[in-house]
Subunit: 380 residues, 4 copies
Amino acid sequence: MSSIYGKNIRITIFGQSHSSAVGVVIDGLPAGFRIDFEELHRFMQRRAPGQKSWSTPRCEKDIPEFLSGLAGDVTCGAPLCAVIRNSDTRSSDYEQLKDIPRPGHADFTAQLKYKGAQDTAGGGHFSGRLTAPLCIAGGICLQLLNELGVEIGAHIVSVGSVRDALFDPVRVDADTLSAVKAADFPASDSVKGALMEKAIEEARLDGDSLGGVVECAAVGVPGGLGDPMFDGMENRIAAIVFGIPAVKGIEFGSGFGAAALRGSENNDSFCFDPYSFGTEHSSAVKTKTNNHGGILGGITSSMPVIFRVAVKPTPSISKPQQSVSLSKGCDAALTVKGRHDPCIVPRAVPCVEAAAAIAIYDAWLDNNKYKYEEYINGHQ
Amino acid sequence: MSSIYGKNIRITIFGQSHSSAVGVVIDGLPAGFRIDFEELHRFMQRRAPGQKSWSTPRCEKDIPEFLSGLAGDVTCGAPLCAVIRNSDTRSSDYEQLKDIPRPGHADFTAQLKYKGAQDTAGGGHFSGRLTAPLCIAGGICLQLLNELGVEIGAHIVSVGSVRDALFDPVRVDADTLSAVKAADFPASDSVKGALMEKAIEEARLDGDSLGGVVECAAVGVPGGLGDPMFDGMENRIAAIVFGIPAVKGIEFGSGFGAAALRGSENNDSFCFDPYSFGTEHSSAVKTKTNNHGGILGGITSSMPVIFRVAVKPTPSISKPQQSVSLSKGCDAALTVKGRHDPCIVPRAVPCVEAAAAIAIYDAWLDNNKYKYEEYINGHQ
Amino acid sequence: MSSIYGKNIRITIFGQSHSSAVGVVIDGLPAGFRIDFEELHRFMQRRAPGQKSWSTPRCEKDIPEFLSGLAGDVTCGAPLCAVIRNSDTRSSDYEQLKDIPRPGHADFTAQLKYKGAQDTAGGGHFSGRLTAPLCIAGGICLQLLNELGVEIGAHIVSVGSVRDALFDPVRVDADTLSAVKAADFPASDSVKGALMEKAIEEARLDGDSLGGVVECAAVGVPGGLGDPMFDGMENRIAAIVFGIPAVKGIEFGSGFGAAALRGSENNDSFCFDPYSFGTEHSSAVKTKTNNHGGILGGITSSMPVIFRVAVKPTPSISKPQQSVSLSKGCDAALTVKGRHDPCIVPRAVPCVEAAAAIAIYDAWLDNNKYKYEEYINGHQ
Amino acid sequence: MSSIYGKNIRITIFGQSHSSAVGVVIDGLPAGFRIDFEELHRFMQRRAPGQKSWSTPRCEKDIPEFLSGLAGDVTCGAPLCAVIRNSDTRSSDYEQLKDIPRPGHADFTAQLKYKGAQDTAGGGHFSGRLTAPLCIAGGICLQLLNELGVEIGAHIVSVGSVRDALFDPVRVDADTLSAVKAADFPASDSVKGALMEKAIEEARLDGDSLGGVVECAAVGVPGGLGDPMFDGMENRIAAIVFGIPAVKGIEFGSGFGAAALRGSENNDSFCFDPYSFGTEHSSAVKTKTNNHGGILGGITSSMPVIFRVAVKPTPSISKPQQSVSLSKGCDAALTVKGRHDPCIVPRAVPCVEAAAAIAIYDAWLDNNKYKYEEYINGHQ
């Protein structure tokens, strides 16, 4: 029951790295929505492999086939299924890994769980390739959110020891996000981006890999999404973001930094936005700072939703490593073959956006079902 | 649908800070388990208010009444409901907050969501008081896990600017955890603990508050718990931990630190444990380091599960703050009345343990349903 | 995980017949709804025991206490918990049943499942007493539906061999339903009702019991509720109705009778309602007959939703019966003590209404989240 | 969120009658199970169209392609996805139905729900074709259950006015079920079966259709499966069986017949099975009759699980019918084109078996997670 996410819109992801296909079923899309397939293709391409020195040389066109859920290019209310065929697979690269598991990878824990029945080729269901169907679902949710005035974008704020500035958590807007999404390398500062690319290339030449931190912002998110306790926006976003392989941490707003602040520093003062024209006072309330990352008590405040994600360095490196032979019961040296990204952080950027889009759209649907104010007004 | 957690064991939490009671329904407990109520009481007392200078002076005995689910003191298979009456409530302290929301608190977002119908007294359903029923459920799950050889404990690794050492992620064991759980202040180093208490007292006298970081370890967790993608142990733990008010970040193993490491540094080499007597080689495999925090690919590795949680400073401070009047549509100064913890980090410690216990026990039940090896062996 | 129902509104029922209390948590109620507690009390009284010769002489006032979820008498968005104390319990009546299970009752299967840990007193969690919290939840959903123009009512169409006419499935309306709900005995024809009461009294004097069939109608249900496949209105209603103890069958519209008809007889011709003033043609479409019971393809058609439920005779009868002694491993005669309804059909009537109300309101919320037509129109 | 079923094993069905493919994702299969694909093919063929005069002449080979979830022909623990391509589609047959809905069909309610965006071709997601992926999932669950000693089979007990005898609810066994599953026409009595085929042919020649009743038995089901209240075996089976198009009723054991019996007649006396060799007395307990259909209090008793399903006559008939034109707002005559079964009851038989297999296997997994008796014994 591992690969299903969501309450109102449900995402079921399937596939292994070297199975016939990977894919996704999306249940709960509104009927009558015209998907912009060119836009979706552009979104998918930001994740696609084989394009840069920092990504795996495995070449997959990543063109989804839509098996159901559409009448023409409009959603019809039935579950949408999209699949991407796996074509460029070289399973022989992975034969030894069932016996000698890769440090830092799921080879060993899959063996503990599935007792030898797991599909090890290419990492099986644990492969980063499974983020392709996540991006199909996320790309569609992003289009639905765009219609509601929500824009989501992410950038890299660190790779190895190279660091870039965070988004301005109060002023970040759709233009900021569009600019970084259009960039060749997903860093806000192109100079810093070039340094990151250089660091990745150095690690690659060294047979090693790098991790980093991705920051994501969602702007235009209406206030009131999410719920107290276990369905808060933090819970919802974390529950899907940790589904992206290699994510080891998440923080919202000032996050771990908040732990070192006093309340008087971390609390965001409220103020009225003089340019707001809402009919209710509450719709014109903003905060002067945004340490809360757009979420208070699990519920969105209408300030930008901001979170950062820690991505560990790719475990598959070509340097020799120390492992064990499970069949022989002794220590064993391992040199990993196969084609691997020296740093998955750049390709993780659209995946984080996709995850945020799914979580936010799902929360929006949850909230929408109570929008019938004429109905309750008579009772107050 | 906000207050339900779990797949095999389901926790439904209810109550507001000043309603008649707070409580929990636990569905899915095994029948025939004798709950140790004295042990549960000791666990609950670590969270209870009114005991220390750093906790709210509100005095609640926090003795749960068990309404169902038991025959005597043994679980009977039916849902267990436990309630704690709210007795020492002073709702008048909260009257102004519906109009002038507290910075950093859910007062404002609750207004956005519930349009004035929310119960503001004491923070309503957003109150830290709702962690009392979480601890009932967690305390019972902890007893169930103890029977399986699992121990869970947490300590404070920072309050404000005072920092303490992390657990040794390889050598932390049940004895380490028992020692810190028995301590008067939940810090591993009593000298650092005294500094933390001093810092909290200073903030209190200053009308301010402090945040901090809690680290939690679960030892003895069998390998193979958790699933790839959305039901990984990180997803499951994060999804419940963000239900504790004031949590703004979580990281597993080396977490955000991993983002700055190379793969060759972050990967944990495998080795054989010479003292292990398992019948299978895989049960004797350990890692020399534990950057992975006991979880690879969402699945436990049998190494200690380690995670850290960022807790923001209590938003309710007695210093004057800047807010708005929602009724008048103008800025407004606010001085918060009521009784509040100057630092909730110490009381969050057992809540984090409780959340981990529920998530791990739920994953254990998930895994257990496939334990019928004679059944599948014939097919391999 | 047995006692939770619903997707948007979630009902968690707890308690045993002789535990301290029975109760329900309702998560997902809209905030700002003023509950009419007198109306709810009247609804509950239709199920309450101890009032008639045909109901158990166990006397319970069945007055719920609301522990959470309200600010005054208005819902506040937090989960609502209501409990009813069990006061008049005589557990000694049930001591022998753990060894010698009652034929037709869950005593034996509870033993198979819970291995002796089950609470046998009064039937434990299997008791008809658990329908009291179901009626709390259903009564509140019914009030929410009333605001939307939906009325739900049920009547008895057979007890033992006494049969009464079915509702006219096309013309049944809110007035019909109100009349039968106000009746002393829930039969549409008072003469037939008197015969049913007489039959029940005869069975009681004979130490025996009777079953029967309850028919339920929901009128004013908007078209478009429910989904294809597993979330159809039939699936949703059946999934909750079988939670009422003693229900052994359900049929919608012409039901089992449809199996004997030809398509040309069973198909309901469409026609326009000349008195309808909708803005769309589809809202004026009715069917001339209603063999489909208001549901086609799992989705409501705007015709009355009609279903019938088979209720088996109360298994607890005072006549001597043949059973076994589980401890001794031999056959054993059993004479059931305790206080039992000779026919639970009359008291099942409001329970069936409650179940229908919960299922229909839950489906209404599901549907409502897509009501944002301005949003999708631009795409068509 | 309509097309997902199950708690431990989750079935997500997708596809429309004329989309590229129909298919299913099965999440939660045990790893290491070798699927017998020939056996699965034989099971699927019992549902496949185009073979008999009583089935639609649409010709589909119905050979599933397995996209994921396997390593060779053994399950690997990852979600299994199987698809069946739609090849023989003639969408032009359906063009008029969006305007003039077929009586008794979902054309009209789909319009109410999806406002014109629905895929009408071939009935879209409402088509009986969606039972093909249900049978893939059910066929695999049936193989898993066979390993546990469970056999499931169904037969037709009525078509139109032709009736056949029910299974003997006490003595029905695996041999009985195998015999009827091997039969050319799924009736236990071949003479009655021939009469049924004749009645169907007469209806077909008449441009009309017939309904009927399918009875299903599951033997060898261990006691203790299912839960009280909303997860009882009746609730679980009903919730999936109503997902089969055209099902309008379900009854367990004596079902609606029980409503006319007295308790002394309907209660099934317990007795010891002299041929049983269990280690516990409870495993040797049987009932002399089986009015309870193998389920008491929602939990299996170890007696055969028996239920009957009412299938309405196919709504698509070639006789002229009365409908409306939604575009013109007037009555309209309709003559349905396209290829349709004059009676879907024979093809529904394996679908009912499939549904039962999924529900029972899911309940078995639920129960299995508590099978750790050494763990709880110390507490009793």
